[in-house]
Structures are given as structure tokens and as C-alpha cells.
Symmetry: D4
Subunit: 218 residues, 8 copies
């Protein structure tokens, strides 16, 4: 029995999502205990923001654990009810430094059976890189846009394409970038209409917002 952990097993039933486990503030012991409990209920274990050291410990213990190092995520088992849909999500990022956030979003959607494509390093400083891909991006149903620094990519895409857009500020940059705060405020202040925004680096949250939409579309 865990007295310090109270996993939300009813979340799937209530809102169709499973609880992801936030790995950053948990000890290895806590992660192992919660994994044990989740697996005993035949649920999939999905841990975000888990570092290499904690992951090693779980990989040693569970043979079917998979560690996605670039995404800082670890999974044990399979999600039992995947979404049956042809709808798909494009995840677009401004720079190669946004990779971890981009991959966290991608993985979080793929667990649910959603097909995702990443379009990396198409930032606004060289617009042709985006324009080369814009027709392709337009084929996707929901767009997740990850960008740090001034976050202008969200505005440019929001002005060009009609899809639902979920913007994720990324904590890259220095000085007044303020660990993603400027990208966040920039995206929230966007002059392009209807861009919805997530917390800084919240790739997982963006995936869940996309999933809420896709489940309604299907």
C-alpha cells in the first residue's frame, strides 16, 4: 500500500486520459512503487521528465520498460485502448534545441495511437524553411508549435493555416528569454487569432490538449 501516492485510476473513465507520472520530483523508490501499483491494475506506466539515472533503475527492474532518452520519458507496458482514428498531428519546432519538448509531445500522442510528424528547426529567422513545408503541414489536423526565444513561429503559422494550434513555449535562450517566459508571453499576445497556449516546456500537456480535440473529431 502506498500512503504517499494516490494514483488517479478513474481518470481514463472520466476524461479518457491516463495519468502520466511526473518523474522530476519523485525518488526512485516512489517511481518504483507507483509503477508496481499501476502495472498491478493492468494500466500502462508512462513517466515524463525522468532522468537517465532513475530510468536505469526502472529498466533494470522491468524487462518491457522502454526509455526514450531524448524525450526524457519512460514507458512500461502498452496503453490498452488506443484511439482509432486517421486524424494526425504535426509538431513543428523553431530550433533544434526544442527537441526534448517536441519528442515528449510526440510520444505522449503515440501512446494513444495518434500518428504524428515532426517538422524541426523551421524557425522564423529563415522563413523559406517553413514555406518549404507549409503545404505538407497543412495536411495535418492539429498543429503543435514549439518555440523558444521570441516564439514568433506560432504567430506566423497561425496567420497562414486554419487548423487548431497549440503553442508550447520552450525554455531555450538566455537573458530576456527568461527561461521561456518571453516566448510564453509572446504566444499569448499573438496577433494571429485563436492560438491556445500551454505552460513552458509542457509538451505532454500540448499532446493532451490535442488528444481532447482529436477524440471529439473522431
Amino acid at each position: 500500500m502506498n500512503t504517499d501516492i494516490n494514483f488517479d485510476f478513474q481518470r481514463r473513465e472520466r476524461i479518457g486520459l491516463i495519468e502520466a507520472i511526473w518523474g522530476a520530483d519523485k525518488s526512485i523508490d516512489q517511481l518504483e512503487r507507483v509503477s508496481e501499483e499501476v502495472l498491478s491494475k493492468k494500466e500502462v506506466v508512462f513517466i515524463t521528465r525522468i532522468n537517465k539515472e532513475k530510468a536505469s533503475s526502472l529498466l533494470d527492474k522491468y524487462v518491457d520498460a522502454k526509455f526514450f532518452e531524448e524525450a526524457n520519458c519512460l514507458m512500461i507496458g502498452e496503453n490498452c485502448n488506443k484511439l482509432s482514428t486517421k486524424k494526425k498531428v504535426a509538431i513543428i519546432s523553431g530550433g533544434s534545441s526544442d527537441l526534448a519538448v517536441t519528442l515528449e509531445a510526440k510520444l505522449s500522442l503515440e501512446i494513444y495511437g495518434i500518428s504524428c510528424q515532426t517538422f524541426v528547426d523551421v524557425g522564423v529567422a529563415g522563413l523559406h524553411r517553413l514555406f518549404n513545408e507549409i503545404e505538407e503541414i497543412n495536411k495535418y489536423d492539429v498543429l503543435i508549435v514549439c518555440a523558444g526565444m521570441e516564439g514568433a513561429l506560432a504567430t506566423v503559422i497561425g496567420g497562414l493555416l486554419p487548423q487548431p494550434i497549440i503553442a508550447v513555449p520552450v525554455s531555450v535562450g538566455y537573458g530576456v528569454s527568461k527561461n521561456g517566459e518571453t516566448a510564453l508571453n509572446s504566444m499569448l499576445s499573438s496577433c494571429a487569432p485563436g492560438i491556445a497556449v500551454m505552460n513552458i516546456d509542457n509538451g505532454y500537456g500540448a499532446a493532451m490538449a490535442a488528444l481532447r480535440i482529436l477524440k471529439r473529431i473522431c
Copy 2:
């Protein structure tokens, strides 16, 4: 010819949205000139954040202008291509002081032919008010949640219902409410997964985010 205004007439074609006119920083003269130009192209004029004095001037000039005082919006003409859909939006607000933002969102969607229902003053301090309505709210396809102060309403709804949720922080309150900044940060930090957030008081933006979703659903 307007040299200081450059209306985006191609926006409808590009992303399916018309340009709303931001009334707060424009003079009566600017508002009249841009209205003239928009109407001459047979487009609907939709002005947000317009005060009574500026509205009066436009009401005098255009017989079919309609002023929605509580929403601080003014419309002239009709939107030519409404969305044909049975999907509908619930707009939920924590307190009666959030009314203007709530109504701006509602009006912005109704222009596109979207059916909306408001659920006002169901804040978390008295949860039974929300629980009385939760079954009804669950019938809607997209949820817009407007709340000031600590903005906890978004988290509570996000934990209970599976729909796409667009949260709008509202600039009511005092002291550390900081004109909506605390509600904003609270919504972005929400422990409920997949809540997408707009700028403070941005009812119009929330409507456009909902519209992007609804157009994809239909």
C-alpha cells in the same frame, strides 16, 4: 484610401476567419474609415473592445449597426458564410464579474453561426453550483472557461470532463490577483491535463480557438 489601415481581407480565404477590429486603441475616425472599407468589400464589420462613446458614433452612421454593450462589441452587417454545424460551445464563468469576457466569446462565435450556452457564476468556492450543471455542460463539444482570481475553475472542469477546454483568465480581483496574471499562471500550471490557455480577458481569442476546432470537427 486608408494609408494607416491595411485590413486583412484575405484572412477568410487563408484561415477561414474574418479580421475583427480592435476598438480600444483606434479613434472614431479610424473606426469609421475601416468600417467603410470593410463594408465596401461586402464583409461584416465586427469591432471588439469598443466603448459607448465610439459605438454611438457608429450607430448614428450605420442603421444596421448593432451595439452589444455588455460585451463591448459592435457589429455591422452579417457574416456571409456561417458554419453549418450542430456542434455547440459551452462558456462557463466563475463569477458574475467575468460577464464582459464571457459575452465577447459568445458573440464572436455566434457571428459564425455557432450555438453557445453560458453557465455563469459557478465558481469553485461553492462547488455545488458547478455540480448542478455538470451533466448539462457535458453535452457541449468545446468548453470555454472564464475565471479571475485564482482561476481554479479550469482545473476542476478539466479533471471532470473530456472535451477540449480553452481557459480564459479574467482581470477581476485585487492585490496579488494582479489584473488576471495569477489566474493566467494558475491555468497554465493546472494539474488537470490538456487545458489550453488564452491571454487575459481574451474572450475573442478563445472563440477563435474554439472555431478552429469546430471547423475541423464538422
Copy 3:
């Protein structure tokens, strides 16, 4: 004689509380000297925010020292005048990552002979977890609520239960959580009436606020 430390031995007499020793900014040498002095006056030594390394040094020196690692606290000796009361305190926390703060509060009260019960990981994203416990929580006389991220738990409990509520924002989360600042502002802005708030992570302070109340009740 300590020339750099001036322990407040009269605090018990003045306000009925003993001085806890803040371990974070003190050297091992300072901690040992102040402990020596406190013990020589037959007072209990209670150190908060002490890390493992500093604790080891004191454990080596004092046989009756007890280190509470999860709470980052160390105690030597016993508090001489415990409170004689049947009143008890519930300490409720939103997530398993709030554990250290929760336990610091619990320990700080138990030193005074107060009976405490923790209710861990009952955050608002899955309200049923709280509702399962609410009747039990209602049996307690003072409620301490620890929560990070958006801190909505304090508002929800404040709307449901009549007891004195002391809210402690916790520095978990990332991005706009701002090391607990958003939870702090959220709790201070709460729409539930009469919630009193402590500094971020100040479990000890919450316990002392509860103690001030309990001493008045007895």
C-alpha cells in the same frame, strides 16, 4: 560562548513556542555550537531544512539525536511542556511531491504533542480522491493544505469545510509555476473566504500558526 549565535531562550515564556533552528544556511560547526548551548539549557533542539551530511555529523555526536530524512528535520531531546489537548490537525497535500513540506509540518506539531494525520495526493485533477476523504478530514480541528502548481486544492477545501485553514504553497512544478509563486498567489487570491497563507514551502510556519490556534482553543 557563541558570539555569532544568540538563541531566543525566552521565546517559550513569551509566546509559548521554542525557537527552531534553520539548518539551511548554518555550517556544521554553527549547528553543533548552537545545539550544545540549547541542550545545556535543557531545551529541545529542533533543526529544520537540514541535509543528510549535516545531520550525520550531529547523529555521530548526540546519541539521542533523531533524523527525519523525508522531512529534512533533526531533533535532539524532548520538548518538556507538551500541549495537553485532544484537538488534532489534518495535513492535506495535492501531490506526492509535496511530501517534505507535509512532513515538516507534521513533525513540528508532534513535538508539541499535537496529533496529526496526513492526507496525501488528493489533488483537484481527480476530485473523487478528495471526496473519498472529506468526511474524515472534517473531523479535524485545523486544516493545513499543502499544494504546488496552481494550488487549487486550498480553494476547494475552503469552500467545503468550516475549519481554520492554513495554506502552504509548495515549490513543485515548472515554467510559470515559478517555484511555488503561482500557488502562493493563487491561494492568496482564493475565492473561498478566510484562507490564511504561509510562505512557500513553510511547513514549519504552518504548524506554528496551527499551534497558536490550538493553544487558544484548549
Copy 4:
């Protein structure tokens, strides 16, 4: 029927408090409608942060309305279930400019039948003023401390007296006083143990926190 106002009539039953009406962001029309509804349920109307103009309109309409101009509060009718207690509250303020907050707290408690005494302008710059009153203040059961600028009064009292202390930062001062933010942070950072803090200028909230305590004491 009010569609934009949803008064929490069950609050008294749930937590023993009535809902106060926040007058600042409501129109005269909204205030009249909500008053009508509250009175029809035989509940007392208690409006905070109401200005003279809005008050006049209600005074014209309701013969038994009472306006407390210095406290910016208006009451219609009487609270039906007052607390039967001999316990009493001291409200202490640092400067004469804190008067409105002090009186809002006092009035909010008196509605519930609590006896209150104010100790005004006893700020720390001239400590003798506080020392002249400290013995008298010590006779009270709960202390509410209102102070602006650097808010040091809360710390000084917290170091001298054992009662529950509820600190209210006040938005007086200029420059780095930042409309009460410095007093707020100062009170939260207090080196005196167990001081619980409210939002800036929240005299009403402090009263409710005191009331939660007093109800437990009685």
C-alpha cells in the same frame, strides 16, 4: 430570475459563513438584483468595496440599508445567526492610512456578533506607541494586524504575543512599496513564527479567517 448571478445560499450551511457581495466590479443594476434575491431568501446583504455612488442608489431603495463609508461597506438587514461567544478580536494597524482595511475587517466580524477593538497607528517607527497598548492587546483572542510599507508591525507583534495572528498587507506607500506587495512579502517572510497572511487589503478575508478560528474555539 438572475442569469448572470448565482448566489451561494448554501454557504452558511456548509461552512457557517454567508456570501459577501464584492461591490467593486458589479454595476448598480447587478447589485440591486442580487440584493433583491438575497433579501427574498431572508438572508443579510453585505456588500464590500462599494463606492458612494453605488451605495446611494441602494440607500434610496432600501430603508434599512446602512452605508459604512470609511469601510466601503453596505449592509441591508441583520445576520440571523450570530455567534454567541465572549471571545474577541483585536485589529491593530500601523498607520492612519490603513483605516479602510481595518474597518472592513471590524465590520465583517461584527456582523457575526464578534466583539472587536481597533488599535490604530501604532507602527514600528515609534515602538512606544505599541508598547503602551501591548498589555491591553494581549487580552484579545485573535489578532489581525494591518500594515503597509514594510509591514514590520506583524513581525514585532508575532515575536511578543502568543495568539493566532492574521496579517493583512495594505496598499499604502509609494515606489517599492508596490501597492502593498512589499508588505505582503515581508509578512510572508517574517522571522516571527506562525504568522498567517491574507491578500493585500483583504480585511474581509482576515475577518473570515478569524471567524473560522473563533467558531472552533467557542
Copy 5:
């Protein structure tokens, strides 16, 4: 003799610029006295941030005073040494609400005989508006870019054109736009290389930065 004003008459000789008079914080009396003194030295009077009321007073007194209401500027006399150059400046703005800042910059350069062209309301939400003008803008020697909200226009232009770019954040917008602070931080964090930034709304400063460049080019 003015004892409270000490006009910098040697500035022209030192750095080739005249001192502009900041009208916002000066009384009519101060403005008249400083104008008198400046004119007596045969220098041009150039006042920025002057409102209509103060301007009227000066227009009454000086027959050759000219008030530029949209730019909030007033001039008396002519600048004696204009720059003899064919180089010219483009002033580009994101929205029609940036007009005052745009015109302040334009006027400040025209006083020195610099030819300026404004490109107004070519914001990033509708990129075609900018692309329609980009070839024309490329003919100018220095680019001043004025934008509020998220200020993405500076980045887009910085990625497309090779000229010196001076970005001016504008205090339009609401909520997290924070009176231009988000545009400022966004421009400073720009992923386009070599964009130099001015204080919020500082059209005059941008003009002077451009002038420093143009004087070096000539």
C-alpha cells in the same frame, strides 16, 4: 534666467544632434521658458510627447509653431544644419495602433532632412501584406520596425532583409502584452541576427539611432 532648466546647447557640436524637449513631465510654464531660451540661441525647438492643451498654449504664443497632433510633437523654427544625403529610412509598423510612435520617428528624422517612408499595418498575422511591400522596403537604407503585442514583425523582417534594423516595441495590447514589455523582450530575444532595440514607444530614440548611422554613411 532658468534655474530649473539647463538646455544642452553644445550637443550639436559634440554629437551632431540637438536636444529634443521631453514634453510629458514639463509644465506649460517650463515649456515656454525653455522654448524662449532655445529660440534666443537660434536653435530649433522640438518638443515630443506634448499634449493638445500644452501645444495650444505654445501655438498661441509662437506664430511659426507647428503642432503634429498624431505624433504628439511640436516644432518652432527650422533646424539650421540639415543632413545632405540621398539615404532614406523606412518606418514599418505592425498595426494601425502604432501610428503615434511611427510618426514621432518620422518627424524626428525629417527635421534633419532625412527622407522617410512609412509602411503601416503590415503585421505578421497576414504575411502577404508585408510580402507585397518587401521589395519596396528593401530600397531603404535603414529600417525602423514598430510593433506591439508579440512584436514578431521585427524578427520576420530581420530574417528577410540585410539593412540595419532598429526595433521599437509599442505599448499596445492588453494582458500579458504588459504595455509593450512583451514586444520588447520578444525583439531582444529575436532569433534573427543583429536587431537593435529601443525603449518602449521610443520613436524619437529610434530616429536618433538611425541618424547616427546615416551620418556615418554619408
Copy 6:
């Protein structure tokens, strides 16, 4: 009897200063009552931050009241124990917009019989203005430096002259000047050694800091 005002009549005896009355947050009625009480004790009335309207009322009532409009100060009566000293203070300001703060400091010292000289509008943008006066300034015993915007004047003087320097940031400027916050931080971060800083616009406080020094010198 004043129950809301508790004038610190013992301050002169304790620290040699009289209490100045902060006029900004007091009503005319409060100002009259406190003046009455102060005069009845044969003390001088000195009110800072008093506007024209409040001053008129006091001028009507007290024949020997003097209003210093540019300094926003009002005095009734004379200070009984002036300092007998030949030491004198220079008050130096960066721009003509700092006048009110400069004069508040000057007046606050003159009440105590201190001789003061102002050096106005000698800001760093035209260093020769300061260099013209530097030899004269060097004859004074304490230097008060008032500056807004980037506040560089304090650093320059601190690097050139050996006297005690009290820096007062002034709330002039716009955008990132942030109502004096940038000047404040700039002065606190000064690379010139030993510059002591006051709150924004606190001319009175600077005078009292100078007075504490002068009383020790005499």
C-alpha cells in the same frame, strides 16, 4: 481626541527628528485634526505629498500656513530647535522633471536650519553641465543626487567626489524606466563605491538621512 491618528510626539526626543505628516493618503478632515493636535503641543506641522486642494483647505484655516506648491509640501509654524551648523547640503538633479523631489528634499532640510543649494538639470547626457559645477558641488558636506531614467548621475558623481552621497531615484521616464525602478536598481548596482539609496521619489527620506549625518558631524 483622535482615535485614528497617533502622532509620534516623542520622536524628537528619541532620534532628534519630528514626524512629517504623509498627506497623500489622508483626508482633509484627518489632516486638519492631526494639525490641530500637533499645533496644540507647540510642534511644527510639516505635511509632504499634499495636493493643491487639500492645501487650500489648510491655508484657509491657518493664517501662518505656507504651501510650497512645487514641492507638494505645507508647513504651519516653525521648528523650535534648529540645528546650529555651518555644514551644508548640495542637492543635484539630472533633469528639470526631477524638480518636485529635489524641492521636497531641500525644504525638509531647511526646516532644520540646514543650508541647501540645488544644482538642477546636470544630467549625464551632457557631462559638461556637471563638470561646470563640480568644483562648486565639492564644497558641500553631503550630496543628495536625484535622477530618473537610468540614474547614471549618481555613479558619475560617486566616482568623482568623496562626500557622503544619498541617491534618490525619480519616477520620470516611460517604458522600462518603470516609474523609477530602473533608476533605483541602477543606483543600487552602482560601480562607484559607497552610494546609499532611498526609495523612489523619497526626497524627504534623503533629507532625513542627510540630517542624521549632519547631526553627527556637528
Copy 7:
């Protein structure tokens, strides 16, 4: 093929600049892959903010790689089209702690064949150091001014010299220096006219802004 990196090879053609590679957030693997790709296109590799460990790895791999440790920069190959100009840039810094930023700017210009001279440690606390060099500095065509703490150096130089001035705030200092934020705000608020400002520590950006100017001058 790099799927996570999309180097902007057309930047030289578009705006005459090459893309510098931001080394801070990239892994060694990413740096090697992007270097490989850049070199294969016969472009120069220029990496900024690269630490010793990452640099070692590249030095091992590429014989002609050069690491500039004090500037935290690494270069492989030569820039093919250097600017042919006699114009030159002075880089002036307030303290010896600004060295890394100063050298990053210098190196970034030298790659393009621009002649640069540094004037180090001429801060405002000892003005004579600057005055000793001012005549020499005046011979340069563009001035880059790097300063931390209160950043007053930019204002002083801006008041004395007529050239284009690009100010770079540096993150040295402590307390209210706020990692360069105070220097940044100070430079943006400068009372000297026409000072253009870069992000904190952005020596590279300052060089690019200078380059945009120099290319226009030649």
C-alpha cells in the same frame, strides 16, 4: 541527413550573414552533425557559447578547428566572402569581468574581415580611464559598449560621441543587478539619444548589428 537540424544555408544570400551555431543547448553529437553538414557545403562553421568539453571533442575531430576559450567560440574553416572595408569597430567594456562578451563580439566581426579594437575596463566609477581613451575611440566607425551592473558607460559615451552605438548589457554583478537586467533597462532608459540595445550578453548580436551598418556604409 539531419532530421533535427535545418541549417539556414540561404542566409548569406538573403541578408549577407552566415548562421552562427548556438552551442549552449546542443549536444556534442548535434554539434558534430551540423558541423559536418555545414563544412560539406563549403561554409564556415562558427559556434558560440561552446564550453571546453564540447570544444575538445570538435578539436579532436577537425584539425583546422580553432577554439577561442575566453570568448567561448569555436571556428572551423574560413568565411569565404569577407567584407572589404577600412571601416572599423571599437568594443568598449566597463569592467574586466565583461571580457567573454567583449571577445565574442570581436571574434564575430573579425570573421567578416572587420578590424576591431577593444577598450577594456574603462568603467564610469573612474571616468579618467575613459577620458584617456576617448579621442582614440572617436576614430572608430561603430561603437559597441559592453557593461554590467548599472550600465552607465553607454550613457556617458552616448553623450560624448556621435557614432552609431550598440549597447550590450552584461550579466555580471549581484543582487539587484539581476543577471544583467538592470544594465539592460538602464541602457534602454538612457538619457543619451539614439543608443540601440541588444539582449543581455549578446556580443554576437551586437557584432551582427554593427555588420549590418558597416555593409551599408561600404
Copy 8:
């Protein structure tokens, strides 16, 4: 010859102070070179904010180097012109965690021959500790007050004693203490008159401010 360091050897002559060397941002190599240069001019080397590792290196090189570890300061040689005065300085601190700042101030004064006494850990939470010393403290000519958390000690002393008071906020505490920012703002907002404030942790600066005063007194 040092090209990256430009020691201000004329400072003693100009303002009577020597330049202290800021050790935190300098490399061992820079510290050795600047020491060499300073010693060659027969000046005393005084380095602040130097850590143990850097100090060791200098101790190895210079036999007469003295490292004051608790103060993070290192000295080589003797100051040639000490102040000849009987005036003395009291340095008072709120908690034992303020020790480093306290000792930096003390050492910085003693170099100039000033007699100093520290009064440590007399914080406001236990006022009797201060009252026990207040008569003794009153014998000193200048008071330096170091305090973290809410910094109330400065206000209390400022209300009780007439001397010049220099307040130094200290970066101890957690949460809203914000690394000393709350103590800083609290001291600047103090209701006690004439308290002058230094940057956070700036013990050296406080000493120099005291020295400027003492040199004027002698």
C-alpha cells in the same frame, strides 16, 4: 602589462578610497595579475567575494596574504593611509546566517583603521535581544544594519536611534524572500525616517558609505 584590467589607481586621490577587487567573476590568473600590478604600485590588495580555491592560489604566492574565510575576503599588504579617528561603527545583524555580509563590512572598515563592533543575531522576532544591546549600540557613530527575510530590524533600530543608518539586505531565506529582494524593498519602504540602503549582500558598499561619512566627521 594587463590589457584586460585597468586598475583605478587614482581613486584614493580623487575620493579617498582604494579600489577593492571583485573576486567572484575573475579567474585566478586575472586575480594574480591585478595583484601583481597593485602591489608594484605599493597599494594594498583587497579582494572581496573570493572563494577558498582562488584564495589558496594567492596564499601560495604571497607570504603576507591573509584570507578571511568567513568574510570571503583576502588582503595582501597594508593600507598606507589609515583614517585617524576615534569614531567607530556598529554592525548589527538579524541572524547568524548574515555573518558573511557582516564580516565583509567589518573588514572593509578595519582596513581604513576604523574601529568596528558587531552585534549579531539580534533579530526582531525576539526584541529583548536587541533591547539588551541598544544602550551599547547607541555609543557608536554610524550603524550598519544587516538583515535578511523581512528586514524589519532596520526599521526598529531606525525608530530608536538617531545615528546615520546604512541598511544592507541579506540574501538569506526562501520563497518570497527572493534572495534578499524582500528585505531590500522592506528597508527602502521603511516607515522609520532617513534609512539609507545598499544593494543586497553589499557589506563592502555599506562600509564605504560609512567611511564617506566618517571622513567628513573627523
